[in-house]
């Protein structure tokens, strides 16, 4: 091979490597950017309207925060408790009503309560995907009863997520008297929920350090196994 050809191959290889590197860097940048901006939600829920204007407390909807690991999200029924009597004007309200309509349909009409036990009235129609007269009796997952199939919950996109190796529990934090805004920001002034910048381990540890009463407490709070099990 001549020296010219070899250096030609090398320069092609360098160019390919350059492209790959540039791609990776751009990809990483895109990733970080996306993780820092508020995601689009299936229903563009406006926190400011509910928290600041209407004065609702965080725990009314996210009720599990003081009892468990995850704060939880409100069920469709809880939203509709008020929104049943509010005429939908905004796009978000209209979307909410679409989900609620499917919930009613799945239940078999208003006034019929779901729940285990008691006599169950037949639905009459098999669910979607039913193949009448083809290849045997209706079977399989496509046939999940209409209550389950159409009664769709709102598929919320999580905003404040930690990686899988972090075991965060709301309960000790809420019971220590820490306000929700401390970690989640001024939610009362947000429309759609926004992730907080720089919510990383250093930030967690700095608060743990400040909250420690004494040396023993500090050791407990900053021990690896406390958050990483």
């Amino acid at each position: 091979m001549t020296k010219a050809k070899r250096s030609g191959l090398l320069s092609v290889a360098l160019r390919v490597a350059g492209v790959v590197l540039a791609a990776l860097v751009l990809w990483g940048a895109m990733w970080v950017y996306q993780s820092q901006k508020p995601p689009a939600q299936p229903v563009q829920f406006n926190h400011q309207r509910h928290v600041q204007d209407l004065g609702m407390s965080c725990l009314y909807c996210h009720s599990n925060a003081q009892r468990g690991v995850s704060a939880g999200l409100p069920s469709l029924t809880k939203c509709m408790a008020c929104h049943n009597s509010i005429k939908p004007k905004t796009a978000a309200e209209k979307r909410l009503h679409e989900f609620a309509a499917r919930q009613e349909q799945g239940r078999g009409g208003p006034g019929q309560e779901p729940g285990p036990g008691g006599p169950r009235q037949g639905r009459g129609q098999a669910g979607p995907g039913h193949a009448a007269g083809q290849g045997g009796p209706p079977a399989g997952r496509g046939m999940l009863r209409p209550y389950v199939m159409q009664n769709e919950p709102i598929p919320w996109v999580p905003v404040a997520m930690q990686p899988d190796f972090v075991y965060f529990s709301h309960r000790p934090h809420v019971n220590a008297g820490i306000a929700c805004e401390t970690c989640h920001g001024e939610v009362g002034q947000m429309t759609v929920a926004e992730p907080i910048k720089d919510q990383n381990m250093g930030w967690c540890l700095s608060c743990h350090k400040n909250m420690a009463n004494d040396a023993e407490h500090f050791v407990k709070l900053s021990d690896c196994a406390t958050c990483h099990k």
């Binding site: 020296k3 010219a4 250096s7 320069s11 160019r15 350059g18 492209v19 790959v20 540039a22 791609a23 990776l24 860097v25 751009l26 990809w27 895109m30 990733w31 993780s35 995601p39 599990n64 009892r67 468990g68 939880g72 999200l73 409100p74 069920s75 469709l76 809880k78 919930q103 779901p114 729940g115 285990p116 036990g117 008691g118 006599p119 037949g122 639905r123 009459g124 098999a126 669910g127 039913h130 007269g133 290849g135 045997g136 009796p137 209706p138 079977a139 399989g140 997952r141 046939m143 999940l144 009863r145 009664n151 919950p153 709102i154 598929p155 919320w156 996109v157 999580p158 905003v159 997520m161």
Partner: protein, 726 residues
Amino acid sequence: MSQEKKLTRRDVLKLAGVGGAVAAVLSGCGPMSRYVRRKPYTDMPEYQLPGESVYFATLCRECPAGCGLLVRTVEGRAIKVEGNPQHPVNRGRTCARAQASLQGLYDPDRLAGPWAAQKRGSRAGRSLSWDEAVQVVAQALQAGPGVQFLLGLVPDHLADLVSEIATALGAPEPIRFGGLALFEARQTLRQAMQAVIGQDALPHFDIANATFVLSFGANFMETWLSPVAFSRAYGHLRRGRPDLRGLFVQLEPRMSMTAASADKWAAVKPGTEGRVALAIGRLAAEMRDGVVPPAFDVDAAAIAAEAGLDMALLEKIAHYFATSPRPLAIPGGAALAHTNGLETAQAILALNAWAGNFGLPGGVQVLPAAPIYEDRNAASLQDMADLVRRMKAGQVKALLVHGTNPVFELPAGLGFAEALEKVDTVISFSPFYDETAAQADYIFPDHTPLESWGYQKARVGTDRMVVTASQPVVVPLYDTKATADVLLAAAQAVGGEVAEAVPYQDEVDFLQQALANLMDSPDGIYTAVTPKAFWGRFLQHGGWWTKEPAAVQTFDAAAILQQPLEVPAPQFDAGEFHLVVYPHPILGDGAGANRPWLQETPEPMTTVMWNSWVEVNPETARELGLRHDDIVEIRSPYGRVYAAVYVYPGIRPDTVALAFGQGHEALGRWAEGRGVNPAKLLGPHTNAAGDLAWGRVRVSLRKTGRRRPLARKEHLVGVYGDGVAQ
């Protein structure tokens, strides 16, 4: 000097463009938070906390033992089955089948709603509404005395409810049948108990408190009667007492998983177990006090030769039986599945009578029944033969099947499938499309056990009265309906006496009323003032049982010893080899074949998975020129099957063995077309009690020249080096 091009602006722009395009594509894979979705309840129950588990106490219905379960659910989805630690039968343990009951719940081939077949055996048909289904059942019930209910072995509330309906219709009593009953010879055990202690009751063997267990073919750690309870008891036999380690000897032609735990397994000739018991009785009596009762007046040496056992071994066993503080002899299914099965059972129970252990700890016990409805016996093969005869004569107009799969489980020689053609209407309530449902006119699927209400009375495997509760742990997934509800609605539609006989609003109403008898029983773990309050506690604990074990009863069993006990020689069909058919330790009676977890679990002795095999002794294999995985034809007077050979030293040279449970032709994607069903080889012969005498069948083997490697967890060369390295 090199001729390299310099990097121009154009190059940089090109690179950036390509890099940007690649980045745009790759960034479609963004941070995980953009792909996860959180779906809360649409209507959250009050007791539920998001992300936290809720446990329900319920009942395992995979076999009739009646173990109590705790099922863990998260946000309405069942995720794990564990045993209920307080339940007297299993005390927190479960077997593989209980664990796999989850896969029954989530079976992708489960039936999703009521259906009418265009023609029996065809998969063409139409869906019905439940209202129409109830009308069909009501129409079928109009046949009055021509109605026959065929239920499973589980002694549950449905059997009680159905017997009330049957009585009101003037129809015969419901028949409770199951594959396991074929291998446990329950009718034989009952009749033998009647002969020995005068009580028609299923015996419970208190293995835990015995000191020497002599089992004749009882696979009590696998599927026999109450395997979880007996396995626990076995643990107590060995290690539960610091000063004493119990001994265990198993006599059977094929080494089962149970025999593998024994101190000694001896390969007794099939059909001679009863006579061996008498011989042991004689030797033991001679050793203990020199007084040989008339029942044991036999020639021990001749019997030893007949059975193919060493006299020295028999003497050793007799020595233990005579000197051990609490010896216990157990008549297992394999010993009773011969034409002399009833006499064999009597002979083995006579050993217990001689040891004087009836009713005592470590002996043969009879449990009191909980005062809810009468006990109903499991059907013997003779009862099923009578049913087939009535079907063929056109006396059965409507056959309603629940919880059992007779087309698969019954011996081919009985002719059940042919007899079905003479029945006008066949309705199956199975949640799965099994062989019997495939031959039905209508399928009205019941909920699976994890979605069902109910109760079950435990009759074996515990030391006290137990009634286990069943409650749904999830909202039913499909458009299924509880069979009890369907029958109650149909009874109301029929009206008249039938409606009056079962005046219950629904299944739960029936259960609450049926359990009312237990409400103020002072021996129970709780009492209540109203049926609804009792019901709440019943569900909370997962059942009701007595605080203390049942009082010790004594029985006078001496009479059986006072006369000579004739155990006739066993009869056999023509053929070269004895055949041992045993329930697959993991798949059970075959209902577990549609659970991939069970199929994937290696069979404990051969480690074979996902298939059937035939066990052949190494000497026999050498003589016939057979190696591991060679396919042989196994032929009996009643049929033939093909299976791959597993060269197994733990079996007599004159015997081959097949596990029962594979070979389904329906039942979903994981069960169909896999393995062979030994029922095809079996005939209709019974022992004197009416139970199946599968031991009578003898088979011939024929090489086919084909091979099919079995999926085995062990090394392909095999533990004994007889396999073929590939």
